[in-house]
């Protein structure tokens, strides 16, 4: 558990952090969302003591961080930044193994750890001897994540780690990171200005603006306040992004069941019969379902789930987010 109490930090005249109180729970991904310059990166750097607060207290498991030896503290916190910062003169395996190396682990133990981590981030063993310039952006980012996990830190600080990637790669890495997290249960503090990314990954969401916390809570609980605030300062539509956090299968008990045969004209109207060709998987997110409706120009979708075929109506979809609020 990480606790920030009444933190203030200024750069000269400019107040970067202005009185923050925050608690990060163990095993949770906490996404800190805010526009550029809102102080979110500064907050991360305060936690691993790359910066020192002007005022206030930061503690990990109740112990004030200034009482730790600085290198010990940093080695117990994985730090992954935008643009990766891989060492260009080291191979992938040397990069991943650097913290264990300076912690004087045994050689074969380091090698084993590198193998394990490469597998974890989905890279094959032949990446070991490659140099960073031979990696694509996505591969470099994976290596960066692997490197921050090398000494098995309890806490991960991630400063827009996927910021430099194209949308497709970014999404893939987000999903893979969630998969990794479901195995490792690290305490993750993840900073981003991408609303979609924040909504997709967050267990808990913290909204920051001008060095202060505007709101915090589960992504669904924030829909009322968040929508105006986030839309005004990021230009992204929060509610729309939230749709992605739900799958059609989450709503399965509210959908209208259809008869299993596709050619039953007696039940369906003529129009529907023409569209029975196109069926959608219940693994689809609600965002994709909504987009599909718009493309089809229809307020209904035929869903093919394992339990049978269902009809998803727009009315059900529209209420889904509000319902999520109380979960």
């Amino acid at each position: 558990m990480i606790e920030l109490k009444n933190i203030h930090k200024s750069y000269g005249e400019k107040k970067a952090i202005n009185g923050i109180n925050l608690t990060f729970l163990e095993g949770e991904i906490c996404i800190v969302l805010g526009p550029s310059g809102c102080g979110k990166s500064t907050m991360l750097k305060l936690i691993n003591r790359l910066l020192v607060p002007d005022q206030g207290e930061i503690s990990i498991h109740g112990r004030e961080i200034s009482s730790f030896q600085i290198d010990t503290l940093r080695r117990s916190i994985g730090y992954s930044i935008q643009g990766v910062g891989l060492f260009p003169h080291m191979t992938v395996s040397e990069n991943i193994g650097i913290v264990p190396t300076i912690m004087k682990w045994k050689k074969d133990k380091i090698e084993d750890r590198v193998t394990e981590l490469l597998e974890l981030v989905g890279l094959t063993d032949h990446y070991r001897e490659k140099y960073p310039i031979h990696l694509s952006g996505g591969e470099a980012q994976r290596v960066g994540v692997a490197r921050s996990l090398a000494a098995d830190p309890e806490i991960l600080l991630m400063d827009e780690p996927f910021g430099a990637l194209d949308p497709i790669n970014r999404r893939r890495l987000q999903q893979e990171f969630l998969k990794i997290q479901s195995k490792l249960h690290k305490t993750v503090i993840f900073v981003t200005h991408d609303v979609g990314e924040a909504v997709r990954m967050a267990d808990k969401l913290v909204l920051m603006k001008d060095g202060q916390i505007v709101d915090q809570g589960s992504p669904f609980s924030m829909i009322d306040k968040a929508d105006q605030i986030i839309t005004t300062f990021t230009g992204s539509n929060y509610a729309f992004e939230l749709l992605e956090k739900r799958k059609i299968s989450d709503l399965i008990h509210e959908l209208m069941p259809l008869k299993p045969t596709t050619h039953n004209i007696a039940i369906h109207s003529k129009e529907e019969e023409n569209q029975t060709e196109q069926e959608f998987s219940d693994e689809m997110s609600l965002k994709e379902a909504l987009v599909a409706m718009i493309i089809k120009g229809s307020s209904e979708l035929v869903v093919n789930a394992s339990e049978g075929r269902y009809l998803l109506e727009f009315g059900v979809l529209a209420k889904a987010i509000r319902r999520g609020e109380y979960e």
Partner: protein
């Protein structure tokens, strides 16, 4: 395209140089003795029948080059080989010619090669260098190979006695003990001062890279040391160093004195500071800040960052600076001769004082040879360092995402 155009221009230029040299009529100068004016002999008269052989080689070379530049598929390695052949032929023929010219003259008579000869030699060297660029991926290794093999062929011819009538060769071989000692001294002086400069510069540049204030001081020191002319710095140091050595016999015992090895070493070391520090600082500065921040964030101490990250990343740039400094020091090292610091400069200034141009030329040529050999050697070392710390290759691509 640009490179091809450039090499074509160079080829024609060197052909022109060779032609001018051949036709200039100043192939060789024969003197009764060291002091009287010489008699100029032109290429045809000096070489006799050999001049036709030389002209033939020259013609073949010209034809090959014209075909090559017109796009006929000729491996440019032939240009190199013909060039080397022409080089050796020139030297051998002039050696033979000198022997003939001196046949019925006294032992004080000497035959020295003239401007025409030098034109041809320069043309040929330029040609060889340019042709090597066209095919060699590892230019330094090929150049070194060509250089060494040419050197050994010439040495073998020299041992046969064919060159011994050329005055400059005679000058060097008569005083080989003197020359070899001078070369060794020259090397010692250059390498010692460059290495000291390297050590000081690395410390200075790291300090400058870390602290803005020191940066300003370092650039002042390094620039100032470069602004003062070498010669006057030697003169300026002579007096205080002499006084120091007189006042403190302990220092004198350490080798500190107003003249001799020490002032030369000191001045040359000072002159290496600018090239090495400026390169090293640039090397440190070019390290991506993301990389440093990542290193700090993962808990590396200042020393570990220097050892594992900053050091290795700056090494290739430092090596470039060191090479510049070393070559510059070999050249400047001539001035050591003025303060009794030894080296090839001693012979050069002796030659100037005795108005013996061959002595001057011989020592200058040897300085050039030493510099070229060291340069090639250093480029080789640089390349292997760069390969080891591969990050320096293609830095721009790294910047895109790290």
């Amino acid at each position: 395209m640009e490179r091809e155009r450039k090499s074509r221009v160079t080829f024609y230029f060197s052909l022109a140089l060779i032609m001018i040299g051949f036709l200039s009529g100043r192939f060789m100068i024969i003197k009764e003795n060291r002091i009287v004016d010489g008699m100029v002999v032109d290429t045809l008269n000096a070489l006799g029948e050999n001049s036709f052989l030389l002209a033939l080689l020259f013609l073949i070379l010209g034809v090959v080059i014209i075909f090559y530049t017109k796009g006929v598929a000729i491996n440019p390695i032939w240009i190199t080989l013909i060039g080397v052949g022409l080089f050796i032929a020139l030297v051998v023929f002039s050696g033979v010619a000198a022997t003939y010219e001196l046949l019925d003259m006294g032992s004080t008579a000497r035959a020295s090669v003239g401007l025409g000869f030098w034109f041809m030699i320069v043309g040929v060297l330029l040609l060889i260098q340019q042709s090597v660029k066209l095919y060699a991926t590892n230019q330094e290794r090929i150049s070194l190979l060509i250089l060494l093999s040419t050197f050994f062929i010439l040495y073998w011819i020299y041992r046969l006695g064919w060159l011994s009538s050329i005055s400059i060769v005679r000058e060097v071989s008569d005083r080989w003990d003197l020359f070899s000692e001078a070369i060794i001294q020259h090397l010692q002086l250059s390498i010692a001062s460059s290495l000291s400069g390297l050590g000081i510069s690395i410390i200075l540049s790291y300090a400058a890279y870390r602290k803005q204030l020191i940066n300003r001081a370092v650039s002042i020191i390094a620039n100032a040391s470069q602004v003062i002319p070498t010669l006057s710095l030697l003169g300026l140091l002579m007096i205080p160093l002499g006084i120091l050595a007189q006042q403190y016999p302990g220092l004198k015992a350490l080798g500190i004195s107003g003249i001799g090895f020490f002032p030369a070493y000191l001045v040359l070391t000072l002159y290496t500071l600018l090239p090495i520090t400026s390169n090293a600082i640039a090397g440190f500065r070019s390290i991506n800040q993301n990389v440093i921040q990542a290193a700090e964030g993962m808990g590396m101490s200042r020393r570990q960052i220097l050892k594992h990250v900053e050091g290795p990343l700056a090494i290739p740039a430092i090596a470039v600076g060191f090479r510049t400094a070393l070559i510059q020091t070999v050249g400047n090292g001539i001035l050591a001769g003025l303060v009794g610091g030894g080296g090839l400069g001693t012979i050069l200034f002796l030659g100037l004082a005795q108005s013996a141009p061959d002595l001057v030329l011989a020592s200058a040529l040897l300085v050039v040879m030493v510099a070229v050999l060291l340069d090639i050697l250093m480029i080789g070392i640089e390349n292997s360092l760069r390969k080891k710390y591969r990050g320096e290759f293609n830095r721009d691509r790294i910047k895109e995402y790290s």
